[in-house]
Symmetry: none
Subunit: 312 residues, 2 copies
DNA sequence: GCCTTTCCATGAATCCTGTTCATGGACCGG
DNA sequence: CCGGTCCATGAACAGGATTCATGGAAAGGC
């Protein structure tokens, strides 16, 4: 049932996958070639034969370079996933043979998590496994966000906000780890913070706070939208407005801020990790997840009950 | 960034992974070779270079063949995963490029929906996607009903009656599609149908008609309960009683029946589809849902306003 | 013990194919 | 109209995967 494609001769070799990914990223054959240390001709030939084998045009060639078609995008994303898994293999073998955990897993995280959560995790995991050198990749939690990074093979592990209502995206494993409450920040010393405009930022998936807002009789007089939660905080610190921000964003906030609880049932969001089933079994990712679980919680975070594994 | 492990010379090619998997499975170089249509020598060479590249002994060679070491087992398991992922790539590209959807999705539906609603959908979707072969599974809408089939992984898509009051069950997506009115059926030519006993059936979740009944001053003299709506109709056709049935059940009714409207505000129920978030993203399920939406409405059904998608 | 069988190992030869080289064509901006 | 910048293409090259033809080692039969 999973089948359905006519058996082609050969399957795609790693270097072909790499070419695919490079062209997709660089949007140009020549750029991809030089990025890979190859000739433009090699890339051209490779893409050509690939397209023949897959029976689809993968890139629209034009004067402006090579734009991936929908098929090309899918192919490149899939290729990156395969490459990622492939890259994990040597480390796996090494771990099984010498018991040593190695590798350079890429962790994608949104800014505040990378800043407040990951340092302890990275420190802990490298202390435990000297051969492990995690790479952190900061990604805005917009659109596909960190989960998209994992899905597209650009990361092994993603730290993401988890919407418990939405099911996991296909092919990904999502596990909630922490629950994080939002709090009200306003300029220290301001007498009536509620009369200030609300400062919000793009990444703040307002769905987490929406239900809370709907229960309030208070509506902010205006909304200022900025790019980043750090900008939010500095604006608030300068007295421009107030904001409702999650706990992680508050850590490392500039001075001049006052924080007010949002009552007994503040809005909250969940933070967890995202990976693929295959990568979840690798020693490197397991070590990272274990460290994430055992790392000391920053203030404002609460561990989420660990769901017991249901027998399949 | 696309990188992941300390730079080895080359990374493992698919045929090497295949050899790894085959030797692990066959526990013999020669057997693996013949299974792959290769020479024993080729396998030997390949394993040798692999071991060199990975820096670990993968198989214990002995008189009885080749036994995988722990490292070899991990390597083979990982290799199989990579191969599986790799195998999925062509189908994915094909789907994205030609829009050709393949697969054998299972659709669970209650009888009348399967009989009146699905034929057009199946016909339409297979016409549009020759590679798609949906399976219909008729389920009595009792207890967990079609939603239960989806929740238990026995179906990809369920056609269910939707109670707008009840929230969606955890882990499922429920989307209403049609509104269907109930009507009164009675034997054709009967002078006083309201004096006949009411024929009802198990699946008829009376909650949809209850509020209507409570507004009537008319109460049927007796109730006959049967198993199935087709039985209801044939009993009514034989003059045994009258019944209040939804529009879908009326289609394809036996002759000898008269249908009477139940006034300006007849009881009604909603029919929609049920699936999981993950399945909702698959091309097969999406194609089916699209077809459900665009299929011509059988008489007696009205489309439900399509709720707009909230941004994530 | 010898001989046979069944494993895997190994070096040289072969064939395949990925890559480069050296072009050519299409298009855009001065 | 002329560089400049893309990608395409055919022929030549080079590297490596595979085969061929061996050899060594161990186990079982006699």
């Amino acid at each position: 049932m999973t089948d359905g494609s006519p058996r082609r001769d050969t399957d795609l070799a790693p270097h072909e996958l790499r070419i695919l990914a490079a062209v997709d990223r660089e949007r140009s054959f020549t750029a991809a070639a030089s990025a890979l240390g190859l000739t433009q001709s090699a890339v051209s030939h490779a893409v050509r034969t690939l397209e023949g084998r897959l029976g689809a045009v993968l890139f629209d060639r034009g004067r402006h370079g090579a734009r991936p078609t929908p098929a090309g995008e899918r192919a490149a994303a899939h290729a990156r996933q395969v490459l990622r898994l492939l890259a994990a293999l040597p480390a796996e073998v090494r771990e099984a043979s010498t018991g040593e955990v190695t590798g350079r897993p890429v962790v994608a995280a949104f800014r505040s998590a990378a800043a407040q959560l990951l340092p302890a995790v990275i420190a802990g995991v490298t202390a435990r496994h000297p051969g492990l050198a995690p790479q952190v990749r900061i990604v805005r939690e917009l659109g596909p966000g960190t989960a998209g990074e994992v899905a597209d093979g650009r990361a092994d592990l993603g730290i993401a906000t988890v919407d418990p209502a939405a099911g996991p995206p296909p092919g990904l494993v999502v596990v909630p780890l922490f629950e994080e409450s939002y709090a009200l920040v306003h300029p220290a010393g301001h007498t009536r913070p509620k009369e200030l405009p609300l400062v919000d930022w793009d990444e703040n998936c307002s769905s987490y706070t929406r239900s809370w807002w709907s229960e309030q009789d208070w509506l902010p007089p205006a909304t200022i939208r900025v790019e980043d939660d750090t900008v939010v905080l500095s604006l608030v610190a300068q007295g421009v407005g107030m904001a409702v921000v999650p706990g992680l964003s508050l850590l490392g906030a500039p001075p001049g801020l006052a924080v007010t609880d949002l009552g007994p049932r503040p809005p909250s969001r969940r933070i967890g990790y995202v990976t693929t089933p295959a990568l979840a079994r690798t020693a490197a990712v397991r070590a990272l997840v274990r460290e994430l679980r055992s790392a000391p919680l920053p203030a404002g975070l609460a561990a989420v009950q660990r769901p017991s594994r249901s027998p399949s």
